[in-house]
Symmetry: C2
Subunit: 161 residues, 2 copies
């Protein structure tokens, strides 16, 4: 059976925020979105940095994706806009069915370099997605374990330069 997996932008509304509670990586970002909605700082159904996959009516996978300006690019050569990806997560019952890969493929479709700071124990997945470890540098990376993906024509910056 082949099922078409569709990645879609997630809008800021109470339904989305309620669904986010089922994900393990729930933190300040979600709480701030909720508070902004409650206090009318953001409108209902405004854009969020999240993308997700629904199975029926239920959100079963998501990631946050943010375009970082070239001005702040310390990872790539030549310096350029890149995507930072975080909170990639598939709910337990829906794992190993291609949802994680579908999200990553969606991110890659922008043809920009991608940086992520994965959770412990997810390195096998990221390797299969063709990500590799950026050379660690304390001043830049601090507590992070950055992994990067390079589209064609882009190289990792040589930080010893």
């Amino acid at each position: 059976m082949m099922t078409k997996i569709k990645v879609q932008p997630l809008l800021v509304n109470y339904k989305t925020l309620e669904e986010f509670k089922r994900f393990k990586e729930y933190g300040n970002q979600e709480l701030a979105m909720f508070e902004d909605l409650e206090s009318n700082i953001v409108e209902n159904d405004s854009e969020s940095p999240f993308f997700g996959i629904y199975f029926g009516n239920a959100l079963v996978a998501r990631m946050s994706l943010y375009r970082v300006s070239k001005k702040y690019d310390y990872y790539f050569t030549p310096p350029q806009d890149y995507l930072e990806l975080w909170k990639l997560e598939v709910l337990p019952d829906y794992r190993n069915q291609g949802y994680g890969k579908a999200l990553v493929d969606f991110a890659k479709s922008f043809k920009l370099p991608i940086k992520t700071n994965p959770r412990i124990n997810s390195h096998g997945f990221w390797e299969r997605m063709d990500f590799h470890k950026a050379h660690y540098e304390v001043e830049r990376d601090r507590g992070e374990n950055p992994l990067i993906w390079l589209p064609s024509g882009v190289e990792e910056r040589d930080i010893s330069e």
Copy 2:
């Protein structure tokens, strides 16, 4: 029984790196230190960003602490150098004996603001240490859940400005 707890800088050497393996948050940073030592990029016993506490000959608690330049300060008013703290960790058998607090007090002794991005479930500890949640902003914080500590005379930056 009162025991004097002594926080000390940890030098990059094979003994320290071997002890780091006992800590849960072991990642690229430690591996890069090991590789730098192996390939003579850093000398034996050179400085590391880690501080720790020994109980007898064993390292039982540690943290990484890095001074971020005023130029990169997006958290405080007035803008100033601040300390970023990560990988604060006390080995299981040594918890609830003041080692974590001793490390945080050491960091506070520099009288600079401190930022940390704590692990899930450690918020109670950070509250007791007088840290509070920074207002989350996606462009700045992305996947982080920043907590900050303010010395007297320093305020959190109003990011809505």
